[in-house]
Amino acid sequence: MGTRLWRVLAHAFAHNPVLMLAAALVVVQVLASVFAPLIAPYDPVAQAVESRLAAPSAEFWLGTDKLGRDVLSRILHGYQSSLGIAFSAVLAALLFGGTLGIWAGFKGGWVDRVIMRLADVLFAFPIILLAIGVIAILGTNATSTVIAIAVVYAPIFARLMRGPTLVLRSADYVHAARSFGSGDLRIVVWHIMPNLASVILVQASLSLSTAILLEASLSFLGIGSQPPAPSLGRMLSEGRDYIFIAPWACIFSGFAILLASLGFNLLGDGLRDRLDPRLRGID
């Protein structure tokens, strides 16, 4: 099963321009965020009053902000914090929501009803209000941003995992495995989870795209990670104050958020076309 998924993916990437573009965007940005401390030309928090609001130049490729901090270095470090928060949040949502979803689908009955009703209730909240509620409880910092985003996405993964599990648990080969004495855990790990890999891949990628936007919105609103940590959303919010004197800080930080979100969205969208048999032939 695993090798077949890899083969489908390799073929898809080699023949699809959208996926190639997406992969290029994602790889470059993930590398930039991981190696930010090595490749950033300046210290992202070092202030240099003499070069405040400097326009893009050979010295400062993307200019400087109102405190003379290098915009490029801040964007690279901002990637690290934005992608880091989005990855952690989506991973937490996948582990927590996905496990509950598989459990609900596998057990059925009242376990299923309780878990899925809880997911329905979480779905009822407009996302920003759910995030604001969690942050109001936990305070404004990076950890509560991760938890807030995870709470928003957990019900999506729960719903997503439940459906296929419900179908698979009565598949012939699962009955066969059970008749050979396999326990619940073994059946879930060896016979059900491999079949969910492609669904997880698609949804995780799409969720990362929107999680990046949500993280940026929260730090833009001032309720995400707090200064002095560089954050793309907060950079944009600060840059807005002097957009008419030095538009670069605002323009480039927003462009960075767009590119990060765009890469994962194109990736998820392209993968969905390849991996979801129901969609083949439609797009």
Partner: protein
């Protein structure tokens, strides 16, 4: 149909109950003593003040008793008072929610108006290079951060239309309708753009799906012209997935409106709630979340039910 309505109402009641329990638990989930935390923002509070607030919020009772008091107070119209001003929170919310709701509704209208023709056109010109371009363009629209687009629009408008007021207070519609709409135009556009892009994509897929059905072939073979086939037969049937998506999009638009308000300095619900977080004004946050979420749940349920009553096919697939 009667059975369907009863089941939907039971579902609705369940979700509303769940939402109220979660919102109720919010204050109780604050790490440490909620009353202490709330008063902490104002500096040093005496033990008796903390105890008084604890009494006022009813935090000393067992949880089910607290919930009962909370719910029954709201049933009497008492949604709590703001900790600092003592003003009923519902008044604060009522003052601010109007402009946020207006922004949400205007953007929804704009999104519907533009996304249907855009989706139909995209379905019509499908295949080949235009697919690649359209996909990249629409996904860029979907992932466009609203606060960035808003900032760029303010920047651009100041250069191209220097006389156009883009920031500051919103003149009331009843007094200056033109100035009001002009002031709401950029925020509406900013809120609507990502939703236009995603709705257009949904419309496109639904249209392509509908156009490949047998009844379309039948309609064509009867000699109906392409216009009638596209707009009377295919479009009507593509609206089912489209309308389903609208409910979700309304929630997104509202979330977007909270952020876009900050960009355009519009004093709406977003600004009120952010202030409340900074002040640790929990009753205000709690009531705002509860009121808005319940409104969304009820409106969505009504639209869903109406749609199922009107459209037999959607009703059949419950």
């Amino acid at each position: 149909m009667g059975k369907l309505i009863v089941r939907r109402l039971l579902d609705l009641g369940g979700v509303l109950l769940g939402v109220s329990v979660l919102v109720f638990l919010m204050i109780r989930l604050i790490p440490g003593d909620a009353a202490q935390v709330m008063l902490g923002a104002s500096g040093d509070a005496s033990e008796s003040q903390v105890e008084q607030l604890r009494q006022q919020l009813g935090l000393n009772d067992p949880l089910p008793v607290q919930y009962y008091h909370w719910i029954s107070a709201m049933a009497r119209g008492d949604f709590g008072v703001s900790i600092w001003t003592g003003k009923p929170v519902l008044e604060d919310i009522a003052e601010r929610i109007g402009v946020t709701a207006e922004l949400t509704i205007l953007s929804l209208l704009l999104a519907v108006l533009l996304s249907i023709p855009a989706g139909v056109l995209m379905a019509y010109f499908r295949g080949g290079a235009s697919d690649f371009v359209l996909r990249v363009v629409t996904i860029t629209g979907v992932t466009m951060p609203g606060f960035w687009l808003g900032a760029l629009l303010i920047f651009g408008w100041a250069i191209w239309f220097p006389n156009w007021q883009t920031l500051g207070s919103v003149p009331p519609f009843t007094e200056q309708p033109w100035a009001h709409l002009q002031r709401m135009f950029l925020p509406t556009l900013t809120c609507a753009l990502p939703v236009i892009a995603s709705l257009a994509r949904i419309m496109r897929s639904a249209m392509i799906d509908a156009l490949s059905q047998d009844y379309i072939r039948t309609a064509r073979s009867k000699g109906l012209n392409e216009w009638t086939v596209t707009f009377k037969h295919a479009l009507r049937n593509s609206l089912i997935p489209y309308v389903t998506a609208l409910g979700i999009m309304a929630g997104y638009l509202f979330s977007g409106a909270i952020v876009v308000e900050q960009v355009f300095a519009i004093p709406g619900l977003g600004r009120l709630m952010l202030g409340a977080i900074a002040d640790r004004n929990y009753p205000l946050i709690q009531t705002s979340i509860l009121v808005v979420t319940c409104s969304f749940v009820v409106i969505n349920a009504i639209i869903d039910l109406l749609y199922r009553v009107i459209d037999k096919r959607a009703g059949a697939s419950v």
